[in-house]
């Protein structure tokens, strides 16, 4: 008997010491550095520490469509250079475009020219009629597949770059399924900025302004197929009013953001306004040099995600590979713009389909209230047990405290995430945990009533209640596990704490309490039990 008691007591002691070592780093910051930093910790969920959860849908189809249309614009420019007139241009499905050409051998010549200069597409000759012929350009299936497979993974990579530069501790950015990205930014303070930073496509394009076209005519619909209307946003510094000015630009981008080597925030010396200066890589610098040389005195629009930021007149050829984006930026806006330009554009636009943002003060408030409710609930249960079952109740209370301690240390060990519903799970587990002991104690009472000795009653109580306790725990565990499988973040937290609490309870309620009774009985068989 003594041996068995000693063995169990040692086990409990070892577990308890281990648990205290494990749980302390999560509860306080005042521990020695080595202990504090090397220990696994309980993580706080977004709902407790504040932060942003975003679920993004990657619009892959749009990426494919955009790529095809961009190639279409390129194709038209190429044909124009070759002196082949293009009568019409249309989308053809998601991944292609159709060009309308005059009769004669233009269609054949066009295909030869395009295969030569734009070989990344497949071309086919369409219907030939008296009024002309059509040719269709289509992305190669391999390229479509590449866009599909890369859109999400590159998106994740790009967003990670942006967030790293923005500075968030322990961000989580992962792909979900075929076309979704989940971004979690715990503890981030400037939440709206973070959301904007993540969701921006950040496609930077340099396009020539078509000054030969009147904006009014263009707005009425008299627009050449080569042109498009974009808007320049400007914010009035005094009133904060946003106005949008239409500008007609050439559709074809002369240069895009993928040639940017670096982007920095600078400040104007006189007015202190912030602007972003760019430097291009060698290829970009060469193109920029040529473009500026060919278009002196014309206006070049700097377009980000189809919004014109500025459209300065090219004063002279710019060879250094440097450019500036000005606008009425606040320092924060300029710094975020620099970040997205450095990190590159998203391969496909994203749409926010779920956004859960929790302010830091609400999180702190939730913890405080949750802990208060937990302490109060636990205190009431402990008092009730001590009052109702007297000495035995105290033994159960002692097991309950071990239960909570082991639960918290288990969470630290698994580096589990504690959420607000998770705190509710702990509190509920406290209420349910005493059930095992209630079952056992009621059984012991029955045995005592049937005039057995105290010791035999205790043994019989534990033995007879054992399977009931196990059965009843398993049912709770089943539902908790299913919750874990199907639940979202906060609810997973609930499933974790509830199921761990219930599982650990099997040990504390059956082993920790029994060893106390066994110890007393081994010293001197009990004549009476206060239960």
């Amino acid at each position: 008997m003594w041996k068995s008691i000693a063995w169990r007591a040692t086990l409990i002691a070892v577990l308890t010491v281990t648990s205290i070592i494990l749980v302390l780093p999560s509860l306080t910051d005042g521990l020695p550095e080595a202990w504090q930093s090397k220990s696994p910790k309980i993580h706080l969920g977004l709902d407790l520490q504040g932060g942003v959860f975003l679920r993004l849908e990657v619009e892959i189809d749009k990426a494919i469509e955009n790529t095809a249309l961009r190639y279409g614009d390129d194709a038209r420019s190429i044909l124009k250079e070759k002196g082949i007139p293009v009568l019409g241009f249309q989308k053809a499905g998601l991944d292609g475009f159709t060009l309308q050409l005059p009769p004669g051998d233009f269609a054949e010549r066009a295909i030869t020219a395009l295969k030569d200069e734009l070989g990344t597409l497949d071309y086919a000759l369409g219907a030939v009629t008296a009024s002309g012929a059509t040719i269709t350009g289509r992305l190669k299936p391999a390229e479509v597949l590449a866009i599909r497979t890369n859109a999400v993974s590159q998106g994740v990579e790009t967003i990670r770059n942006r967030i790293d530069q923005f500075g968030v501790r322990e961000p989580q950015i992962v792909a979900e399924g075929d076309d979704r990205i989940v971004v979690q930014l715990p503890g981030v303070k400037d939440q709206q900025r973070a959301i904007d930073l993540v969701g921006k496509t950040a496609l930077l394009e340099f396009k020539l302004v078509d000054d030969g076209v009147s904006v009014d005519e263009a707005l009425k619909g008299n627009l050449s197929a080569d042109d498009q209307i974009l808007y320049q946003k400007s914010v009035d510094a005094q009133t904060g009013r946003v106005s949008r000015t239409p500008i007609v630009v050439k559709k074809r981008a002369l240069l895009t953001g993928d040639t940017i080597k670096n982007a920095r925030v600078n400040f104007e010396s006189q007015r202190g306004g912030a602007y972003v200066s760019l430097s291009f890589d060698t290829r970009g610098a060469r193109i920029f040099d040529r473009v500026t040389a060919e278009n002196v005195k014309r206006r070049l629009a700097i377009v980000l995600d189809d919004t014109v930021y500025s459209a300065p007149v090219i004063q002279e050829r710019i060879s250094g590979g440097e450019a500036q984006i000005t606008g009425s930026f606040t320092p924060d806006e300029a710094s975020d713009l620099a970040i997205v330009l450095r990190a590159g554009s998203l391969p496909a636009p994203v749409k926010v389909i779920q956004n859960v943002t929790v302010g830091p003060s609400l999180g702190a408030d939730s913890i405080q209230k949750g802990v208060r409710a937990g302490l109060l609930g636990a205190a009431l249960v402990v008092l009730f047990m001590a009052f109702y079952y007297r000495f035995a109740g105290l033994v159960a209370d002692f097991a309950l405290i071990f239960n909570i301690l082991y639960l918290l240390s288990g969470m630290a060990l698994l580096q589990a995430t504690l959420t607000l519903p998770g705190i509710a799970g702990v509190i509920l587990a406290i209420g349910m945990a005493v059930d095992s002991n209630v079952l056992i104690f009621e059984r012991i009472r029955e045995e005592i009533r049937s005039k057995k000795t105290i010791r035999a009653s205790i043994d019989a109580g534990y033995e007879k209640a054992f399977w009931t306790v196990v059965d009843s725990h398993v049912t709770t565990l089943i539902t908790a596990l299913i919750l874990f499988q199907f639940g979202t973040g906060p609810i997973k937290g609930f499933a974790v704490t509830l199921s761990m609490g219930v599982a650990i309870n099997l040990f504390t309620a059956l082993v920790c309490t029994k060893v106390v009774f066994d110890y007393i009985n081994a010293k001197r068989p009990m004549k009476a039990l206060s239960i």
């Binding site: 109702y388 209420g431 049912t475 299913i482 639940g487």
Partner: protein
């Protein structure tokens, strides 16, 4: 020995007519509520229906009517407003409008800041959920309920016998429907946390049922009473004090959550508190009578696959 309940001999089986009538009403309410939830006609939380929920905290007290005016001006006449007394907190919920997945939180917050320039506000939380996600979460929740029910029947059929498993599952469904029905009738919000409460109560109610079933099985083996109904009565009476003590401790913790756990957990704690009562009731008045009716009065031993 302090005993809340002295040795009792209540005729629970005799009360089953009343219990069944009462339960039938609850379940019918629940079925109506469930149908309405799937038709989108109940007070669904935005995590299930899609939409935007914004919790803002003002520095000074603010009149809900004024917030409502501002929202109406912005075209959100149907917005659901809820104030938290004493804390200057306002929770604004705007449902998703059909296929329009545009998020409105930014716009609403900016508008509130502008309209209440003399009463600065901070944004406590924002949740924006597209209808597609709402649909997915809703079907996930339904799937989770179905799988739990199945898993529970299988486990109980293995540990007891099939009829017990089905009876326990029916009692559990009874609890789930009753809770849904009550929340529907009280026009309380049905969200993911509510679904979580449902599953938790399902687990809790089963625990209760299993304890009683265990005792029934034991008493059948010992042939303590001549008929099955009497055996059930005896068993329920024998474990009654445990049932009440445990329900009490769980109920205490739920109440602590309800009154001190803060705004976010309030409805959740309410569902749990009501659920504990219903779960306790159903294991006594629903699960056991179903077994009795189905099994008849035969005193054949109840299967036990393991343990003593």
């Amino acid at each position: 020995m302090i005993e809340l309940i002295k040795k009792t001999s209540i005729d629970f089986m005799g009360l089953r007519r009343f219990a069944f009538a009462f339960s039938a009403i609850l379940v019918v309410l629940g079925v109506v509520g469930t149908v309405q939830i799937f038709r989108g006609q109940a007070n669904l939380g935005i995590d299930l229906a899609g939409g935007t929920s914004i919790q803002v905290k003002f520095q000074k007290p603010v009149h809900l009517d004024r917030v409502r005016e501002v929202m109406a001006k912005a075209g959100h006449r149907e917005a659901n407003l809820q104030g938290v007394p004493g804390e200057n907190i306002v929770i604004i919920k705007v449902g998703a409008k059909g296929k329009d997945e545009k998020m409105v939180a930014d716009q609403v917050v900016a508008l509130l800041r502008q309209s209440f320039a003399d009463n600065p506000l901070s944004v406590d939380s924002v949740a924006e959920i597209g209808p597609a996600i709402g649909r997915k979460l809703r079907s996930d929740a339904a799937l989770a309920m179905a799988i739990s029910a199945l898993a529970i029947i299988v486990y109980l059929a293995w540990r007891f016998e099939f009829k017990f498993g089905v009876a326990a599952a029916m009692a559990t469904f009874h609890d789930v429907f009753a809770l849904v029905g009550l929340f529907y009738v009280l026009h309380r919000e049905i969200d993911l946390l509510f679904i979580t409460a449902l599953l938790t109560i399902a687990g809790y109610s089963l625990t209760d049922t299993v304890v009683i079933f265990d005792r029934i099985r034991e008493n059948v083996r010992l042939r303590k009473k001549p008929t099955f109904s009497e055996t059930i009565n005896l068993s329920v009476n024998e474990v009654l004090s445990r049932t009440i003590v445990t329900s009490l401790t769980v109920f205490i913790t739920c109440l602590a959550l309800l009154f001190f756990g803060g705004v976010v957990l309030k409805e959740f704690a309410l569902a749990l508190s009501i659920g504990v009562i219903i779960g306790t009731y159903s294991s006594v008045f629903v699960a056991s009578p179903i077994v009795a009716i189905w099994r008849g009065e035969k005193m054949a031993d109840v299967k036990r696959s393991s343990g003593g």
